[in-house]
C-alpha cells in the first residue's frame, strides 16, 4: 500500500524542480530577448538537449532502481556493475569502424548492447553460483570490468584512424551535446518500453526483497524476473551510453534518495526515480556547461564526483550486506 504521508507534496516538489531546471536549461540568458536567433537556439539546440537529459538521466535511474532491487544491494547500478563500461567499449568499437555512417545510429546501440552482454557474461560466470548471488564479488568484478573497459577505450582511441578519432573523443567525454531529435525519438521508445516492462514486474521486485525462499513461495518466477530485468536494463543502458557516453552513478544516487524520500515500493520508486534521474542529469548538464563558461565540462565529471562521494557515503553507512 502506498505511503500517503506528504506523498502528493513530495511528488509535486520533484515535478516542480524538474520543471525549473528545464526552464533554466531552455531559457538561460535568452529570456528577455525574443528574437529569431534565440528561438532557433531554444528549439533546435536546447530543447533536444533537455529532452535527452530527461530521458538519459531517467533511464539510467530506472536501471539503477531495478538492478538494486534484483540484487538486493544499494550499491549496484549499470556503472558499478560494468554494464556501462561494456556498452562503452562496444560503442567505441562501432565508432572505430565507422558503423553509424553506413548502418545508421541504431547499429551503435546494438554494438553497445553486445558489449553489455559480454560484461554480464563475465559477471555471471564469476559472481553467480547456484542461484546465489555473491554480492561482494559481484561489485568487485563489476568495478574491475569498468576499469578494464576504460583501458580498452584508451586502446581503441590510440589505434583509431585519425578521421574517426574526433567522433570517438567527442563521445567518450560523456556529454549531452550530441542531442538530436531523431535520436531522442529512438531513446524515448526504448526507455518508455523499459519503463512499462519494469512496472509490470514491480510487484515481483517488491516480493524479491523478502529473499529467495519467501519470494519463491509467493509464486515469483525469480530466474525469469532476474533475466528480464537485467537484459532490459542492459539494453536501456547501452542505448543511453551510445548517445551520451559513460555517465556514471546516476543510477546509484537517485534511487537512494527516492527510497529515503518515499518508500521502498517499486510502484512508487520507478516513476519517482525516473523523474529524479531526469532532474539530476539535466541539472548536472546545466552546471557542466556553465561552470567554466565558455568552455564545457563533460557531464560525466559532475555526476562522477557527486556519485563517487555518494558511493563512499552509502558504503560506509550500510556496509556490503
Amino acid at each position: 500500500m502506498m505511503n500517503k504521508d506528504h506523498f502528493v507534496a513530495k511528488i509535486f516538489i520533484i515535478f516542480f524542480l524538474t520543471f525549473c531546471i528545464i526552464s533554466l536549461q531552455l531559457f538561460y540568458d535568452t529570456f528577455p530577448l525574443v528574437n529569431d536567433i534565440n528561438t532557433t537556439i531554444i528549439a533546435e539546440i536546447r530543447l533536444p538537449r533537455a529532452i535527452l537529459g530527461l530521458l538519459a538521466g531517467g533511464g539510467l535511474a530506472l536501471c539503477g532502481t531495478v538492478l538494486q532491487g534484483v540484487f538486493r544491494n544499494n550499491l549496484v547500478e549499470p556503472y558499478t556493475l560494468g554494464i556501462s563500461g561494456g556498452s562503452a567499449v562496444g560503442v567505441a568499437l562501432g565508432l572505430m569502424v565507422n558503423f553509424q555512417t553506413f548502418l545508421g545510429f541504431s547499429s551503435l546501440i546494438i554494438a553497445g548492447f553486445l558489449g553489455a552482454l559480454f560484461s554480464l557474461f563475465i559477471l555471471y560466470i564469476v559472481a553467480i553460483r547456484n542461484h546465489k548471488i555473491d554480492t561482494k564479488n559481484l561489485l568487485l568484478i563489476g568495478v574491475m570490468i569498468s576499469f578494464i573497459s576504460s583501458s580498452l577505450l584508451m586502446l581503441i582511441l590510440s589505434i583509431s584512424k585519425v578521421e574517426n578519432l574526433h567522433g570517438i573523443v567527442f563521445w567518450i567525454m560523456g556529454s549531452l551535446g550530441n542531442a538530436e531529435n531523431n535520436i531522442n525519438f529512438i531513446l524515448f521508445f526504448i526507455v518508455s518500453s523499459g519503463f512499462v516492462i519494469f512496472y509490470l514486474l514491480a510487484n515481483d521486485l517488491n516480493a524479491m526483497q523478502f529473499g529467495y525462499e519467501k519470494s519463491f513461495t509467493l509464486g515469483v518466477n525469480i530466474d525469469v524476473v532476474i533475466k528480464i530485468t537485467i537484459i532490459t536494463a542492459s539494453f536501456i543502458t547501452a542505448s543511453i551510453v551510445s548517445v551520451t557516453g559513460m555517465v556514471g552513478f546516476i543510477g546509484l544516487v537517485v534511487p537512494h534518495l527516492m527510497r529515503k524520500l518515499f518508500y521502498k515500493d517499486f510502484r512508487i520508486l520507478l516513476p519517482t526515480s525516473f523523474l529524479g534521474g531526469g532532474f539530476f542529469l539535466t541539472a548536472s548538464d546545466f552546471l557542466a556547461s556553465k561552470i567554466i563558461y565558455p568552455n564545457e565540462l563533460p557531464v560525466g565529471v559532475i555526476t562522477g564526483i557527486v556519485g563517487g562521494i555518494f558511493f563512499i557515503y552509502i558504503f560506509k553507512k550500510e556496509r556490503i550486506r
Binding site: 500500500m1 529473499g211 525462499e213 513461495t217 509464486g219 510502484r267
Partner: protein, 274 residues
C-alpha cells in the same frame, strides 16, 4: 481422508542426497511436527514440500494432485512457507502482510484490491498486530516480527502452512503465544500445518503427528505418544533421556539427564541396594 501423500521422496543439494526415500501420508487438517537431530534433513524435507528444492525422485500429492506438476503461482495459492528469519525489515507491517496476497493477483495486476486489504486486516486482527500496522518491521521485537511473517503467510489463504522452527530464538512467552495461534488456525480454519521443531516438548504439546528423521530417513512416524519413547529417542540422540507425562495435557514430555546427575543417581541406586 488423505491430504498429503509423500512417496519415495529423494531430495537434497547438488551431489548430496540428504533425504533417502521418504514415504508418509497425512490426513486433512493435521499438525505435523518434523523432529530429529541436526543434519537429519528436516529443513531439506520442508523446502522440498515448499517447492524451493526440486526432488531427485519421488512425488508429493496434495489432495491427490501432483505438487510438482503445478507452476509456481498455483502452488503459492496452496502452500505458504515461513522461514526462521525475517529477511526484509525495511518495510511497514501492513505492506509485509499485504505482500502475501501476491499469489492472488491477476496477470498484469499492479495494485491490490479492496478484498486484499480486507483479508489482510482480518488476519492482522486475528493475530493482534493491527495496532502495529504502520510501524516498520525493524521497530518490532523478534517475536512480533515472526507473528507478522506468519500472518503474511496466512493471507495467502493456503491449505498447507509450512513453518521452519517458528519459535526458534524466542522466549517462552512468545513460543507459547505463537504456537497457540497456529494451533487455533489448525483446528478452527482447518489449515494443515507442517512445522520443524527443535524443542521436543513443544512438538509433543502441539502436534498431532510427529515425523522423526535420522540421516535423511524417516525413522519413526506416528502420534507424539508413539514417537516420543525413551528407547527411540536414546537411539537417535545418543544420550540418556527420561520421558514422563505432562500432568495437564497428558502428552509425553522429554527430559535429558546430565552426566553428573546420572552418576549420583546410579550411586543412590547402588546405596539403596546395599
Amino acid at each position: 481422508m488423505e491430504f498429503i501423500r509423500i512417496e519415495n521422496l529423494v531430495s537434497g543439494y547438488k551431489d548430496q542426497f540428504l533425504l533417502k526415500s521418504i514415504t508418509l501420508t497425512l490426513p486433512k487438517s493435521s499438525f505435523l511436527g518434523i523432529i530429529g537431530p541436526n543434519g537429519s534433513g528436516k529443513t531439506t524435507l520442508l523446502k522440498t514440500i515448499a517447492g524451493i528444492l526440486k526432488p531427485f525422485s519421488g512425488t508429493i500429492y496434495l489432495n491427490h494432485r501432483d505438487l510438482f506438476s503445478l507452476n509456481n503461482k498455483d502452488r503459492s495459492r496452496k502452500i505458504a512457507y515461513v522461514s526462521q528469519f525475517v529477511d526484509n525489515k525495511d518495510i511497514k507491517v501492513m505492506d509485509y502482510v499485504l505482500a502475501g496476497r501476491l499469489p492472488h493477483f491477476k496477470k498484469f495486476q499492479i495494485f491490490e484490491t479492496q478484498k486484499d486489504i480486507e483479508i489482510s486486516h482480518k488476519f492482522m486482527n486475528f493475530f493482534g498486530i493491527e495496532k502495529f500496522k504502520d510501524r516498520f518491521m525493524y521497530e518490532l521485537s523478534g517475536g512480533q516480527q515472526q507473528v507478522v511473517a506468519i500472518c503474511s503467510a496466512l493471507v495467502q489463504e493456503p491449505e498447507l502452512l509450512l513453518l521452519d522452527e517458528p519459535t526458534a530464538h524466542l522466549d517462552l512467552n512468545y513460543q507459547i503465544k505463537i504456537l497457540d495461534l497456529i494451533q487455533e488456525l489448525n483446528t478452527q480454519m482447518n489449515i494443515s500445518i507442517i512445522s520443524i521443531f527443535h524443542d521436543l516438548n513443544l512438538a509433543s504439546e502441539y502436534c498431532n503427528y510427529l515425523a522423526l528423521l535420522r540421516d535423511g530417513e524417516l525413522f519413526k512416524f506416528g502420534t507424539p505418544r508413539e514417537v516420543l519413547r525413551y528407547d527411540i529417542l536414546e537411539e537417535i540422540y545418543k544420550t540418556v533421556i527420561v520421558t514422563d507425562i505432562n500432568p495437564v495435557s497428558g502428552n509425553p514430555i522429554v527430559l535429558p539427564a546430565s552426566k553428573m546427575s546420572l552418576k549420583s543417581s546410579l550411586q543412590d541406586d547402588y546405596d539403596d541396594r546395599t
